[in-house]
C-alpha cells in the first residue's frame, strides 16, 4: 500500500507539466484589427498583432489563450458572447452580453472589451452609454521598480486609461483592486457550469440506475461510473480516512475528483464549449484548496489539534520548534494542492500552445509555406503526444487532489488512542 501511494506520487511529479490544447490553431492572432498598436520595445503585444503588422508573438499568444475571457473565441472574427455582470463602486451593477462591445469597437458605460477581457475607463469624464472606440493602445509604464503594461482606449482622439478587473493578489502578482469587479459568466465560469450540469446529468442517470436495478446487477452507465465510485471509496477514502469516518467525506472527495476531472477534460477539448483553462487558473484552485482547508480543519479532532500545537511524546524544546512548523503546514498543505493543480494544468496548456506555435514560428509569419508545413508536422505530432499525456494528467491531477485531500482529512479525524496504548504495551 505505501509503495503504491509513493509510486503514484512520483508518477505525478514526473508528469508535472500537465497540458491542455487550449484553442485550435486558427486563432493565434486576435482579430483586433482596429488596434493601433504602439510598437515600442515589444512588437505585437499579447497576441494582438494583426497579420500584416507585427510578428507573431508566441508568449503573448499563449498567455492570451490560457487567460480567462468574457467571450468564446471560435475562430477569426467569430465569437460566442457571454453574459456580463460587472460592478463598479459608485456606478453600481452593469449587465449585458459581451457582444455589445463589438470586440473593442464600442464602449458601454465606460466598459471596454480588451483582448477578450472587460476593462473599464476609470476617468469620470469618459461619456456614458454606447460610445465608439477608435482603438485600444498599449504602453509600458514604470510603476515603481517594475514595468507595467497599461492599455488605453482612444475616443475622439483622446486616450483614456483602462483598468483591468480587480484581483485579490494584493498587487504581489501584478494585479490588485481596481475601479471595478467582474462577476461575469466568463469562459471559465461557463465551463464550470457546463461541467456541473454534465455531472448532475450523468449522476442522476447513474442514481436512477441504482433505483431501477435494486437487488440486480448494475447496467449501462451505472456500471461504468460504479468503477470510479468504488475505486475512490476503496483506494482513496477508506484507506486514507479510515473505515469509521470515510462515509461522511465520500461525497466531498467524489465531488472534488469529478469536478476537477470534468474541468480538466473540458479544457482538453480544443474548441467550443471546451478549451477554457479552468483548473489552470489560480482563482479556481485557490477556491478548491480553501474548501479542502475548511473541511479538514473543521473536522479536526482533539488528537489532531494536539499534534499540531503540542506534539505528544517528544521533548518540550522540540515542541517549541515543531509547533510553528505544524501550524505552517496547516496552510502549506492546501497551498500545495492549489499550486500543484494550477501548475500542472496551466503548464499543459502552455506546452501544447507552444507546440502549435511552432507552425507560425517555422512558417515565419506566413512567409514560408514549407516551414509552416514542417512546423505543422512536428508540432502536430508532438501535440498529439502531449494530448495523450494530458489526458493522463487530467485524471491524475484530479486523483491526486482527491487522495491528498482524503489523507489530510484522515489525519484530522484519526484517533491515536490505540497506537499509544499499543506503544505503551510494547514498552513494558
Amino acid at each position: 500500500m505505501e509503495f503504491k501511494k509513493l509510486s503514484i506520487l512520483v508518477f505525478a511529479l514526473a508528469f508535472s507539466w500537465g497540458m491542455l490544447p487550449a484553442q485550435d490553431h486558427g486563432h493565434e492572432q486576435d482579430d483586433h484589427g482596429v488596434e493601433t498598436e504602439q510598437h515600442d520595445e515589444h512588437g505585437g503585444e499579447a497576441g494582438h498583432g494583426s497579420h500584416d503588422e507585427g510578428d507573431y508573438d508566441p508568449v503573448g499568444t499563449v498567455m492570451g489563450h490560457i487567460a480567462d475571457a468574457n467571450e468564446f473565441h471560435v475562430w477569426k472574427g467569430v465569437h460566442i458572447p457571454l453574459p456580463l455582470i460587472l460592478y463598479a463602486p459608485g456606478q453600481g451593477w452593469t449587465t449585458g452580453l459581451s457582444s455589445m462591445f463589438e470586440h473593442g469597437h464600442t464602449a458601454v458605460d465606460g466598459y471596454v472589451l480588451n483582448h477578450g477581457r472587460v476593462n473599464r475607463v476609470a476617468d469620470p469624464s469618459f461619456p456614458k452609454g454606447e460610445v465608439h472606440i477608435e482603438g485600444i493602445t498599449h504602453k509600458t509604464e514604470k510603476a515603481g521598480e517594475k514595468d507595467k503594461d497599461v492599455y488605453y482606449a482612444i475616443h475622439e482622439g483622446r486616450e483614456y486609461r483602462l483598468d483591468p478587473p480587480s484581483t485579490v493578489d494584493g498587487g504581489f502578482l501584478g494585479g490588485g483592486i481596481t475601479s471595478f469587479y467582474d462577476f461575469s459568466i466568463t469562459k471559465n465560469v461557463f465551463t464550470m457550469i457546463l461541467a456541473a450540469l454534465l455531472l448532475i446529468w450523468l449522476f442522476s442517470a447513474v442514481a436512477r440506475g441504482y433505483e431501477k436495478n435494486i437487488h440486480k446487477a448494475p447496467s449501462g452507465i451505472q456500471s461504468f461510473i460504479e468503477v470510479f465510485f468504488v475505486f475512490i471509496r476503496d483506494e482513496v477514502t477508506k484507506p486514507m480516512i479510515g473505515p469509521k469516518h470515510y462515509e461522511r467525506f465520500q461525497p466531498f472527495i467524489m465531488t472534488l475528483f469529478f469536478f476537477i476531472l470534468f474541468c480538466n477534460l473540458l479544457g482538453l477539448v480544443p474548441f467550443f464549449p471546451g478549451s477554457a483553462n479552468v483548473t489552470g487558473n489560480l482563482a479556481v484552485t485557490l477556491t478548491l484548496a480553501v474548501f479542502t482547508f475548511l473541511v479538514v480543519n473543521l473536522n479536526g479532532k482533539k488528537d489532531y489539534w494536539e499534534h499540531v500545537f503540542w506534539m505528544p511524546g517528544i521533548p518540550a524544546w522540540v515542541k517549541v520548534i515543531l509547533t510553528p512548523v505544524e501550524v505552517l503546514s496547516l496552510f502549506i498543505k492546501p497551498f500545495s494542492l492549489m499550486i500543484r493543480l494550477f501548475a500542472n494544468i496551466s503548464a499543459g496548456h502552455i506546452i501544447i500552445l507552444s507546440l502549435i506555435g511552432l507552425v507560425f514560428l517555422f512558417g515565419d509569419n506566413g512567409r514560408s509555406v514549407g516551414g509552416a508545413a514542417g512546423g505543422a508536422v512536428i508540432g502536430g505530432l508532438f501535440t498529439a503526444f502531449m494530448n495523450l499525456i494530458e489526458l493522463l494528467v487530467a485524471f491524475l491531477q484530479a486523483f491526486i487532489f482527491a487522495i491528498l485531500t482524503a489523507s489530510y482529512i484522515g489525519a484530522a479525524v484519526e484517533e491515536h488512542h490505540h497506537h499509544e496504548e499499543e506503544a505503551r504495551e510494547g514498552a513494558h
Binding site: D68, Y181, D182, V189, F203, H215, E226, E247, A283
Partner: protein, 173 residues
C-alpha cells in the same frame, strides 16, 4: 524586459474575485446536489448490495453446512439401521435357536412323557389284565375247587385226608 512582460500577462495567477465567487458557488451546488441526489444513494445502494451478496454467500455456506450435516446424519442413520438389522437378525437367530431348542426339549419331554404314560398305561393294562387273569384264574380255581370239592365231599375219608394235607401245607411260622 520579456520576463516582465511574461509576468504582467500571466493573468491566470491573479485570482479574480468573480471567478472565486463562481467557483465556490458552483462547487457547493455540485457538492450539495450530487451528494443528495447521487453519492449518498449510490453509497447506500452499494452497501445494500454488498450486504445482500454477503448474506447470499453466508446462506449458501450455511446451506452447504446443513447439507453436510444432513448427509452425516443420514449416514449415521444408515449405519444405525444396519447395526439394528444385524442385531435384529442376530436376535432372531437366537430366538429361533431358542425356540427350536425349547421345542425340541419339549418334544423330547412330551415324547418321554407319552412313552411314560404309555408304559404306565401298558403296565396298568397289563396289571389289569393280570388282575383280571388272576380273578379269572381265581374264579376258575374256585369253580374247579368247587367241582373238586363237590366230588371229594362225597367221600368222607378223602375229605379228611385232604383237609389234613391242607393243614400240613400251612406252615406256621
Amino acid at each position: 524586459m520579456t520576463e516582465v512582460l511574461f509576468l504582467a500577462d500571466f493573468s491566470v495567477i491573479k485570482p479574480d474575485p468573480g471567478l472565486i465567487f463562481w467557483t465556490a458557488l458552483i462547487f457547493i451546488l455540485v457538492w450539495f446536489v450530487l451528494g443528495r441526489m447521487a453519492f449518498r444513494p449510490i453509497q447506500n445502494a452499494l452497501k445494500q448490495r454488498e450486504r445482500d451478496i454477503q448474506n447470499a454467500l453466508d446462506e449458501a455456506r450455511k446451506a452447504r453446512q446443513e447439507m453436510a450435516n444432513l448427509k452425516a446424519e443420514n449416514e449415521e442413520l444408515l449405519k444405525q439401521a444396519q447395526e439394528e438389522r444385524v442385531k435384529i437378525l442376530k436376535e432372531a437367530k437366537e430366538a429361533r435357536d431358542t425356540i427350536i431348542h425349547e421345542a425340541r426339549e419339549k418334544a423330547k419331554a412330551d415324547a418321554h412323557k407319552i412313552v411314560e404314560n404309555a408304559k404306565h398305561e401298558i403296565e396298568n393294562q397289563r396289571m389289569a389284565a393280570v388282575v383280571d387273569l388272576k380273578n379269572q384264574i381265581g374264579l376258575l380255581s374256585i369253580e374247579i375247587a368247587e367241582k373238586v370239592l363237590r366230588r371229594q365231599l362225597e367221600d368222607k375219608q378223602g375229605q379228611e385226608k385232604f383237609v389234613k394235607s391242607l393243614v400240613d401245607d400251612i406252615k406256621l411260622g
